[in-house]
């Protein structure tokens, strides 16, 4: 029982990160049909914003020293700002381009961001201690859980609730959901494209920042590639969840997190290094089984 609870917690905490990532990608995909490969680099950028540019091995902490109450909004603002800026400077010009062109443009943008960071900070991973008072552990029905895990899960749930409330209860949210489903039709009903897209980018950037904060607290490491792997998994989750479906993206994120943790637990030691091969094998099976993803709204199906 305790072991099961532990696995559940582990799966939830890993899945939370994937879910947040998938949500960030799904939001942009919804309004623009853009698979934003720069998303992982937004994550890294947000985290690097806590440090002062320097190529020394030791990190010079800058914004990271701010009190939490200022630091969190600051990093969220960095994420939103970078994301919106990339929309204005780059993606706006690709609105009518085909998805492949947009995708490559986003990849090129990610490349630029990555090498920009590399130039400023060098490639050596840096270390930073953020909120280390979260290191004692608590007991929960016999399972020993570090507060970090709990916080990750709670923060994710809070973000999901806040985002759901935003999407369900506000005019902006309504317009964004409509735009995600059928952008042209939404525009024909007077929904302002630029505003909705910029808002989607801002929210997506903030999600990237949130992931960055969780990751850096968890790992203590600031690394140029820190968002890359997560971004890939998130991307896969977005598709498995059903394109354009935000709940689907979240659920698929948790599913992949759970699959990874379960494989780690049940596979024999010799097979454990092949864990990701099994996970991706499951992804293939899933896609062949349900090419349109787990959640496909009727509207989406009709249009395809």
């Amino acid at each position: 029982m305790t072991a099961l609870l532990q696995v559940l917690f582990d799966a939830l905490s890993l899945g939370s990160l994937y879910a947040l990532g998938a949500l960030g990608i799904a939001l942009i995909f919804g309004v623009m049909r853009l698979v934003n490969f720069a998303h992982g680099d937004y994550i890294a950028f947000c985290v690097f914003a806590m440090l002062w540019p320097s190529i020394d091995a030791a990190a010079i902490v800058f914004a990271g020293n701010l009190p939490t109450i200022i630091l969190v909004p600051f990093i969220l603002a960095v994420g939103a700002g970078l994301s919106v800026l990339s929309e204005i400077v780059v993606f706006r010009r690709f609105r009518n381009a085909n998805p492949a062109t947009m995708m490559i443009a986003s990849f090129a943008l990610g490349f630029v961001i990555k090498y920009f960071l590399l130039m400023l900070y060098s490639s050596r991973p840096k270390s930073i201690d953020l909120w280390s008072n979260l290191t004692q552990q608590i007991e929960f029905f016999g399972a020993r859980i570090p507060p970090l895990q709990v916080i990750t899960i709670v923060v994710t749930i809070v973000i999901l609730i806040a985002l759901t409330a935003f999407l369900k209860r506000t005019r902006f949210g309504l317009e964004m959901r409509a735009a995600a489903e059928n952008f042209t039709m939404a525009r024909m009903l007077g929904v302002r494209a630029n505003r909705v897209i910029m808002l989607a980018f801002a929210v997506s950037g903030m999600l990237a920042a949130a992931i960055g904060l969780i990751l850096v607290t968890q790992t203590g490491t600031v690394d140029i590639n820190m968002g890359a792997n997560l971004m890939l998994v998130a991307f896969v989750a977005t598709v498995i969840g059903g394109l354009g479906s935000l709940p689907g993206a979240v659920l698929a994120g948790y599913l992949i997190g759970a699959a990874t943790v379960i494989m780690q637990v049940v596979l024999p030691p010799d097979a454990r290094p092949f864990r990701d091969a099994f996970v991706y094998g499951a992804v293939i099976a899933m896609l062949v089984w349900r090419p349109n993803g787990l959640f496909t709204s009727k509207a989406t199906k009709q249009r395809v």
Binding site: A108, V236, I240, I284, V288
Partner: protein, 356 residues
């Protein structure tokens, strides 16, 4: 369906022009003759093979594949297994079948085996995946790449896992690479104008119409996927012999994105775009590198700060795509100037992508 001779008549100049461009590079290599320069040209030829390989599937079918570099990995390891000395294999890759362990082939056979092996793998994968379309197909191919890389990164006794496989004969003369590039361009061209290639392109542009007129889309895709898989395998084998070392992580996202970028920047739907994308981007990269090293302009030495090259190439790609969203060639083929008819490239509708 159009009959073959007329298409041949209309488009034969395309491969000739492309081969001409490659021949110019080969001549430049002969003329300069220095080791590093030749290596640069070799690298361009390898990329031409890889990007044309991508084109055969992606360009003709319109389905973006993130998985093709997986076949490159298969090809690279296949030639490594076959051409390394038995002594090295016995100490490092004990899990290989005896027949491979005890023998050593010339690299030419390694290339052939790489093509066959990768093509078979592509066929098997394609059999399962080709009924998927759009982004689901893209993600599924990416998952295939991830599986291949994960397996090769961890299968100690056969691939040496993460560790580099060394002892692969290094080929530093340029002409074999040139030859491979030409063959691949011709194969891609022949596939493009074949009945299957035409059907696939028709299906890409008008899926409903094509399937209504009896085009078996999964089958035509499978044919293209298999051919392109084989070509990617060849590219991998060429890479292995050009550097002499292979590791699984060479064949992952970095190479996937670079080759895809070259294809899209060149013009995804045309063979000319595939070749030009490689040549143009490679030349720009090379120029930027020379500028990083420092060039003398009127006596004053001028050098870009290190690392600017990567940033610059990213910016250049974005700018090219902004002004030429369908690539440098605008998805058309290069043809002889007197012959105005261009092969059909997919024109870009001005309509919003969503309603299309």
């Amino acid at each position: 369906m159009a009959d073959r001779p007329s298409i041949l008549e209309r488009t034969w100049s395309t491969p000739v022009i492309l081969i001409g461009i490659l021949a110019a590079l080969q001549l430049a290599a002969l003329a300069v003759g220095s080791g590093p320069f030749n290596q640069t040209i070799i690298e361009i030829f390898i990329r031409v093979v890889l990007v044309v390989g991508l084109f055969v599937f992606i360009g003709n079918s319109g389905v973006i594949s993130f998985g093709h570099i997986g076949f490159t990995c298969l090809g690279a390891y296949m030639t490594a297994w076959l051409t390394m000395l038995p002594a090295i294999k016995k100490s490092k890759l004990k899990g290989l079948p005896d027949i491979i362990l005890n023998n050593k082939l010339a690299y030419g056979w390694g290339l052939v085996a790489a093509v066959i092996f990768a093509a078979i793998a592509a066929y098997v994968v394609g059999k399962v995946l080709m009924r998927l379309s759009g982004i689901a197909a893209s993600i599924a191919t990416f998952a295939v790449l991830a599986v291949i890389i994960q397996v090769y990164s961890n299968w100690d006794t056969v691939t040496g896992a993460q560790s580099s496989v060394v002892g692969i004969p290094i080929v530093r003369v340029v002409w074999p690479y040139f030859l491979c590039a030409i063959v691949v361009v011709i194969v891609a061209y022949l596939h493009q104008i074949s009945r299957s290639g035409l059907a696939l392109r028709a299906a890409r542009d008008e899926a409903t119409a094509a399937s209504a007129s009896g085009v078996n889309i999964p089958r035509e895709r499978l044919i293209a996927f298999t051919i392109s898989g084989g070509i990617m395998g060849l590219g991998g084998a060429m890479f292995a012999h050009s550097v002499g070392v292979v590791t699984p992580d060479t064949f992952y996202l970095g190479l996937t994105f670079i080759t895809l970028s070259m294809l899209v920047v060149g013009g995804m739907n045309s063979l000319s775009g595939a070749v030009l994308g490689v040549v143009v981007l490679s030349i720009i990269i090379q120029l930027l590198r020379w500028m990083e090293k420092g060039v003398d302009i009127g006596g004053a030495s001028f050098a870009l700060p290190l690392g600017v090259q990567e940033i610059a190439i990213g910016v250049v790609m974005i700018v090219i795509l902004m002004y030429r969203p369908s690539g440098l060639t605008r998805n058309r083929e290069l043809v002889w100037p007197s012959n105005k008819l261009s092969a059909r490239g997919k024109p870009n509708a001005p309509a919003d992508g969503k309603t299309a």
